[in-house]
Symmetry: C2
Subunit: 439 residues, 2 copies
């Protein structure tokens, strides 16, 4: 028989100390409320272990009793993987495992416990003159264990890869409490199966990551950042190819933004002024990271070639770090701004790079057939083939009625993605939201 | 009961056609003879299927009959993973699956069948203005399926990663003949477990890779290559840090070579002249790959800084492509040259980067205690922490007697590696040679 709440709280308290076990509604609330506000199950309890040994003891106890565990990091996941599915689970928060154990600037490696926030890990790297390139909107709260368990992506995947590519090794507690000791910092190790990469991206289903070794990179000397006007996604793709040829591995971001997203942000005062060079159906945010001693002006020169060839109609290079932050704020608010315009239906999809223009064209047409007047706001990591294919409700429409038709829009967009050989979860994962789609 | 040779040949002939089945000693010989000449088992037969369906049928038959299969690519592996272990196996050669199916220069992807040689894949990428950066001494024979199954490394891992990092997706036949369809070219896909990375590096034990999607990179505009004199491995490490800071991702090779390796090659006429700037206990081979439109002279400027700071005593930058090839020939002949000086004992090990000087110092001392007069020739991928820690026999010693003591030297070197948190197989894998060490 499964243990009840009282027995659970008592057992967890013996392992971690009673003050690290939470079962009252008010105490549990922050563990249960998630960013999308779509999942509303309770939990038997939440527990915050203070050591790997305590995580092991929790797992061993849960395995013996048949209690399901839900590992939770910063609780920023967008697909409900970090919150309960039935209500009978115990949430295991890694937030107390927050020590950065080793930062070796010479070797370019950092070993952090699972509960270190991405921001704190980035800051530690920066203080040592290094770059931890994993970067995403939720980095202030997201934790190392979570970003690895979900194989997070973000805005610098183009040059540096996803979380998986940045991870050299992990330590993880398996379902029965045994420890997987894979906290290696080796760049090359061909002894046995690649279990590290199986644990990364498993969303906690194969074990609880308790610490990780991450790769660091030399901190760029400077960044050159531009917003560039292009006529269409196909035009953006042509420009991307030019940039990739000229900047190679120093091209660290190539993001696509539709005009509607700029207008919404202006309308609701989310940006003080329009940072784009002039109105255009599409804008690309491009960033080149210059290595120490590298040549200045690579971005500007490439843009001059693109302007001369008619690929680009207008462009502006950020003249200061303040302007650069303004450019990035425009991009980072693309998702959030949609809530100011009513309800929205969202997709996190990827296709082979060459198919991005078709994805946007055909996905837009299919959604418009399903919901006349629907307003597409597709944006994101063009250079990775990863588009956040979002739609705002028609102007003046009823939000609830719009959302009632979400499945039809999902099916329409995902059918296009499938036809183009794409993925229905490029970077957010499966969680609870997409288990049906996984099949 | 296991099928005998006659039954096996008949069954395989029905699947693939009799002319693609080999069981006579003379026919089998090329499948059985491997580069290290250490493994001498025969096989029930060898078979060269001409399609994925035939590979599936072979696997289904073998699974039903209880026959072990040994997948074989270019037969260039250095640990015996591609040749039989008991003599009762069937070798499955992928050499007939040699079509490059897709080369998409814009997307930077190539899809090749398993039997395509690495050299042919590189050439196809080059003809399209792209770079397939996987590069190793055996690339003329090594095949895509094999280099992925062994997660091969080579001379450009520093900037581009091992074979695993270059692989976007695989198709593989599982043990019972079912097909794993993972031939994706997506840069980001978070739907389910990372089975691709489990198959890569599994040395054929989890399935037979029949095709793969690989990443291509923009072809560099030019390469700047130097041989640099350093006083010690510690000095090389200091220089590596400087180069990494200044060249970032454009630093594509940093190889260490001991003076003895140069002298052996001179003594036996393997090089026409000494390409090093002047004799020095250690030489580093450094290469910077300049992107299209990139700045010239990054390597030279960094070397001037290093000379000024006393990190480097002398240096020579290759004035021509011919000189560059000469530099690389010196490096690539480091292993082979040892056979001209009698017997040699070899190790393929890695340690955290900062520990490379201790690895060389302590490994050399330990080996010298075991075999007085032993001559260390440690060389290799310093920037990856991966050293081919090889030893030539003492001058005038008996080769057989020297090799009889190999285990003692192995144990001494591997003990140092273990103490430094390293790996006893950095890039060559486990195969048959290191199954005992894996434990």
């Amino acid at each position: 028989m499964l243990p009840d709440a009282t027995e659970t709280v008592s057992a967890l308290g013996q392992i971690c100390g009673a003050r690290h076990v939470f079962s009252e509604a008010a105490e549990l609330a922050p563990f249960l409320s998630e960013p999308r506000r779509r999942f509303h199950r309770s939990a038997l309890a939440a527990v915050a272990p203070g050591s790997v040994a305590e995580v092991q003891a929790i797992a061993a106890w849960a395995n013996e009793k048949g209690v399901a565990l839900v590992p939770q990091g910063g609780n920023t996941g967008l697909v409900g993987g970090q919150v309960p599915f039935t209500g009978g689970e115990v949430i295991v928060s890694l937030r107390r495992l927050k020590t950065i154990r080793v930062l070796d600037a010479d070797a370019g490696t950092l070993i952090a416990e699972a509960g270190v926030t991405l921001h704190d890990a980035q800051s530690a790297a920066d203080a040592a003159g290094q770059l931890l390139p994993l970067s995403l909107a939720s980095e202030g709260s997201a934790q190392i264990g979570g970003v690895l368990s979900t194989n997070a992506g973000g805005v610098q995947v183009l040059a540096y890869g996803t979380a998986r590519a940045l991870c050299l090794g992990v330590k993880a507690v398996l379902a029965d409490g045994r420890l997987y000791r894979g906290l290696s910092t080796l760049r090359k190790d061909n002894t046995g199966y690649d279990l590290k990469d199986l644990l990364v991206g498993a969303e906690g289903t194969l074990g609880i990551i308790t610490a990780a070794a991450l790769r660091l990179f030399p901190r760029p000397e400077a960044r050159e950042t531009a917003i560039v006007n292009v006529a269409s996604p196909a035009g953006a793709l042509t420009l991307f190819r030019l940039m990739r040829d000229r900047a190679g591995a120093t091209l660290t971001a190539f993001e696509l933004m539709p005009r509607l997203g700029v207008e919404i942000q202006l309308r609701h005062g989310m940006i003080g002024r329009d940072p784009t060079p002039s109105p255009s159906p599409w804008h690309a945010l491009i960033e080149v990271s210059r290595p120490q001693g590298g040549r200045q002006g690579v971005l500007l020169e490439a843009l001059e070639v693109a302007l001369g060839a008619g690929m680009v109609s207008d462009a502006v290079v950020a003249p200061s770090e303040a302007a650069r932050r303004e450019f990035w704020a425009l991009r980072e608010q693309m998702s959030e701004c949609q809530s100011r315009e009513g309800a929205s239906i969202k997709h996190d999809v990827s296709v082979p790079l060459a198919a991005v223009p078709r994805l946007i064209e055909e996905g837009t047409a299919a959604a418009a057939r399903a919901v006349p007047g629907i307003r597409p706001v597709p944006f994101g990591h063009m250079g990775d083939g990863n588009i956040h294919f979002n739609f705002s409700q028609p102007v003046g429409a009823d939000g609830e009625a719009f959302m009632a038709g979400a499945e039809v829009v999902h099916d329409a967009v995902h059918a296009v993605v499938a036809r183009l050989g794409g993925s229905i979860s490029a970077e957010h994962g499966i969680g609870q939201l997409k288990t049906g789609l996984l099949r």
